[in-house]
Amino acid sequence: MENIFATKLKELRERNSLSLQELADQVGVAKQSIHKFENGIVTPSSETLLKISDALNVSYSFFYENPVSYNLTLQNIKFREKHKINNEQLESEIKEDVCKYLSKFMELSAILDEDLEFENPLAGFEIATDKDIEKAAKLIRKKWKIGNAPIADVIETLENKGVFIVEINRVEDFSGLSGMVNEEIPIIVLNEYFNSVERKRFTALHELGHIVLEFSDELSETKLERYCDMFAGAILLVDDVLYAELGKNRTVITLAELKRIKELYGISIQAIIMRASTTGFIDNRISKEWWQSYKEWNTNDSPSDFGTYRSCERVQRFSKMLVRGVAEKRLSMSKAAELAEKKVDVLRRELDELNFSVK
């Protein structure tokens, strides 16, 4: 406990950009005391630790959490093309956030005795050509029993299939990343900062591509990224559906038509045009004309003319499990608040507003 506490205290103080003296002043102890706490020489009393928690804006239980004990390591991390992260510190912070979230998730799963294992629906299906991507998208829809209908909520769908999704909010320029935890738990990290609802859906499925698609070794990194983009588009809007929506022998397209498809299927207008092009629905010449039209709409039309897909697209699995746990009296309200990193009365108010009978 002492060593974990000491390490956490030092990291947290530095993350809050506080000097030893500044923290000591806030807590009302000598600077040397903080130094001794951080070096594990002395353990603070519970009263002092409560003051430290307040000063650093964390709960008392924060110092008892131990994400390392789950031995979580991320492998196979892939960032979106053109959004590569070179900052090692950022990568390390993201990993830390992911591990912390997963630790809480696993703790909650253990309490509720729930285990959702991920099974790759495309295992053994090697991708070598564009056509394989279309086949893979259709296969995954079939195995997940989605049919050709719009996917109402991509994030909820992926969470229900055992993919862990973590939302973070970073100003750094990346939309998402994926990886495997301990070689068995697929994880997708989405950066809310840059993601509209449609982009979030697309990014989540692009990252899913990195997890489930098995690529031929000869494929270049660029091709691989392109295939993951195609995969995302193909899952959001199946080619047959696209053809039916657009009709035969199209040369000219209107913004109103694309807006309708976007609002129905939750796929951006750019991605729809890309789908029409990559599936061979339109040839290169018409594709160029459609992109030209898109540029003109972008110049002349207001953002509202481009439509918005109405969906929650928020990570919910953890919250749903918490609610279930409290409702079924499998964990105390205080434990739920501890896991959700919220104050007890705040969590209760939130649950009351949702009208769950968990008293």
Partner: protein, 138 residues
């Protein structure tokens, strides 16, 4: 001494002056760690109520004691039990939502009683008991 875990219920009792009656008849305590689990609004309110003793625990002993304890309880739930355990003769008062504490209380041989029982025994005033039932249900 009676140790309370449900601080929001305590707050409501205080607002409706029932706590005054209770505190006049017994010593009411809460765990400092438990209080920290609530928002500043609740904490500030409780800190102004003189009738409530906020007790701190001896951290090293608590850290040793919580090892292997039930995972469906929070650190602050456990701190309430520990406060009751460390204070001779203390009785932990359980609100309806504290029932998950029961197995640990039994395991640790901490004395406890239900909140309703506590109120009825201490107040012995029909009008206030009725008011308590209304507050509890709110």
């Amino acid at each position: 001494m009676f140790v309370i875990n449900d601080i929001e219920l305590l707050q409501r009792l205080s607002k409706h002056k029932i706590l005054n009656y209770l505190a006049a008849r017994c010593v009411i305590s809460i765990s400092g760690i438990r209080l920290n689990d609530y928002s500043l609004r609740v904490r500030q309110f409780i800190e102004t109520v003189n009738e409530i003793n906020v007790l701190q625990i001896e951290k090293d002993g608590f850290d040793d004691w919580i090892v292997g304890k039930r995972k469906n309880l929070s650190i602050s739930d456990l701190s309430t039990i520990y406060v009751a355990l460390c204070n001779r003769g203390a009785i932990l008062v359980l609100s309806p939502e504290d029932q998950l504490l029961l197995p640990e209380l039994k395991q640790s041989r901490v004395h406890y009683l239900q909140f309703d029982e506590f109120v009825i025994k201490q107040i012995q005033d029909e009008r206030l008991i009725k008011l308590y039932n209304v507050i509890k249900a709110a």
